[in-house]
Amino acid sequence: MATEAAKQKTAARALRRGGLARGLRRDWELYLLLLLPMLFVLVFKYGSYVGLTVAFQDYKILKGTGVWTGFQNFEKVFRTRDFARSFRNTLLLNGLDLVVGFPMPILLALLLNEVRNRYFKKVSQTLLYLPHFLSWVIIGSIAYQLFSLSGIVNTVIEGAGGKAVPFLQENTHWLVSYIVIGVWQTMGWGTIVYLAAITGINPELYEAAIVDGASRFRQVLHITLPGIRATIVTLLIMNLGRVMGGSFERVYSLMNVATTEYIYTIPVQVYRWGLESGKYSQATALGLFQSIIGLALVLLSDFAAKRIGEEGLL
């Protein structure tokens, strides 16, 4: 028994020792396994980075090459009105998403945590997670069926004596609908992390609070919320880091030709310039601009998360 343990220990030490050549000879099978995945990363991810050089060229796709022009494309892009609009829309849509969408999962998780009936809890959780599994095309199709001027929602509104609301047919209404639909899609799924954090709270704290005569509301306020504060702060920082991101599919599935004020976010603008009008260089420059700011924000938020003693993401 003892010799067995000692044998294992020396073997473990031997594994960690040794130079690169020895490591290669010993672990060649592991490197072999890594070969194909690394090839995929190199070709499809790093290969794509090569295309970023197009941002600094006057690129012609038919020739497959371009003349180097330095930062001219960026200067051109920054002067266009399309740039200002897409930059504003990206920040606006993501900012509203964050302000409206961030607190919802927390509220829902707190509510779900107060439910004592196990079956009710299970069924409502299953229903709440459902939108997360649907594609944006499906959600967009359903949204237009429900919220169009002759859709069921307006039928009900008119039936109750109201006036039809142009939920998706007028710019401001569209913006609100876009945000609400996005919140609806993510709120249930977002509760998972918070519910897990809540189970980690020491039950004796509640016991003590009850003895002191605290109401349920006060228990939530003074025990549950502080108990998940770290999770809330971390997720908030992470989400702030993504404020320059944005889903192409979500906008593209919910947009229509009548409401063009808010649909031109940076990814949509890149698509329009690049793949629809053939202005590859300009589109790449705009995309690179977004990527770089996005990366900077992620690094910043990671730094902030580590500063307050959380794990961060890198």
């Binding site: 294992q8 073997a11 594994l15 960690r16 490591g23 672990d27 592991l30 072999l32 396994l33 890594l34 194909l36 995945p37 995929f40 990363v41 499809f44 991810k45 790093y46 290969g47 794509s48 980075y49 295309g51 197009v54 409502s124 299953t126 229903l127 709440l128 459902l130 599994f133 594609s135 095309v137 199709s141 359903i142 237009y144 069926q145 429900l146 002759s150 069921i152 039928t155 709120m187 249930g188 799924w189 998972i192 992390v193 016991e207 009850i210 109401s215 349920r216 192409f248 593209y252 599935s253 990814p267 890149v270 698509y271 690049g274 793949l275 590859y280 589109a283 995309g287 690179l288 990527s291």
Partner: protein, 306 residues
């Protein structure tokens, strides 16, 4: 231990009964949750009712949550439309191949990178994780696919996204805890090679996480249409279901192939749209109750980082 978990609940229950305000709070909590949950399911009930109704009732706006003038003819038309059936086939094929390839690549990368003694481990990990936070973007991706000659082909929808840093991160984290170094060292002493260890120890021990990753890959691929929109422009026979739906319903630039040769219908009938949406949603709705728990598991591992 068991006692300290359950005791407070019992205490609270008894207190709740004595407090009239607490009953009201309870009713409110259940009511709010019920309403929000209903918003997640009623849209589908409405769509289902519409798809099973007679067109005339739908135009008269008489259909709410129950079909009026029950008929299956809309589904008959959807199935009659060869291009829709074809899209379904493309989607199934694409998703199956994508999931198999993605799973293979993820396991191949996650196992070596979860071994702490591997030289260059942090370098490889960094190289992969960088792609999670910085990607080339729409146009460089497009130009790459163009250069590789993969435009208008199914491979453009299978190969580029098969290996994702996020899935690798989850699987790597799971392997580190489900398959400890000490177990591997024991197997090594017995003379087993790493490939052998992977095949007969790691994979059988990590079945839950493998199922989770497979589902992440499958649902993600099934639902996405952005890349298909970019890369499949001419070959209508290679359109996955989601892209087909996009052209049919969201953009409405295409019409259903009709059995009647008459009428140049400008817009697609609402009933057909509803039937088509249900046709595309049913696969997800069917597997959803069973796969949900694996997703929750995976998201918990992923939540630790990223």
């Amino acid at each position: 231990m068991q006692k300290s978990v359950w005791a407070p609940r019992r205490v609270r229950k008894s207190l709740r009964i004595r407090r009239p305000g607490s009953v009201l709070a309870n009713v409110l909590i259940y009511l709010v949750l019920l309403l929000i949950s209903l918003t997640c399911v009623l849209p589908f009930v409405h769509m289902l009712a519409k798809s099973l109704s007679n067109e005339a009732y739908v135009i008269a706006r008489k259909v709410f949550l129950w079909p009026q003038g029950f008929t299956l003819s809309a589904y008959g038309k959807v199935l009659y439309d060869q291009s829709i059936v074809r899209s379904m086939y493309v989607s199934v094929l694409m998703t199956a191949l994508f999931t198999l390839l993605g799973l293979f690549l993820t396991v191949c990368a996650a196992y070596p990178l979860s071994r702490k003694h591997l030289k260059g481990r942090s370098f490889f990990t960094f190289m992969i994780m960088l792609t999670l936070y910085f990607n080339g973007g729409i146009i460089p991706d497009y130009l790459l696919i163009h250069k590789l000659g993969m435009l208008e082909s199914l491979s453009s929808l299978i190969l580029p996204l098969a290996f994702s840093a996020y899935n690798l991160l989850i699987m790597k984290t799971a392997l580190q805890s489900s398959f400890p170094d000490s177990l591997e060292e024991a197997a090594r002493i017995e003379g087993a090679g790493y490939l052998r260890i992977l095949w007969s120890l790691v994979i059988p021990l990590s079945k839950p996480i493998i199922v989770t990753i497979a589902l992440f890959l499958a649902v993600g691929r099934w639902n996405a249409y952005q890349d298909a929109l970019f890369y499949i422009k001419q070959r209508a026979d290679l359109r996955p279901m989601q892209l087909k739906l996009y052209y049919l319903i969201v953009a409405a630039t295409e019409n259903f192939q009709s059995s009647e040769t008459v009428v140049a219908v400008r817009t697609n009938p609402e009933v057909l749209k509803a039937a088509c949406v249900m046709f595309a949603t049913v696969p997800i709705l069917c597997v959803y109750p069973f796969v949900q728990r694996y997703f929750v598991q995976g998201i918990m591992i992923g939540a630790v980082k990223g």
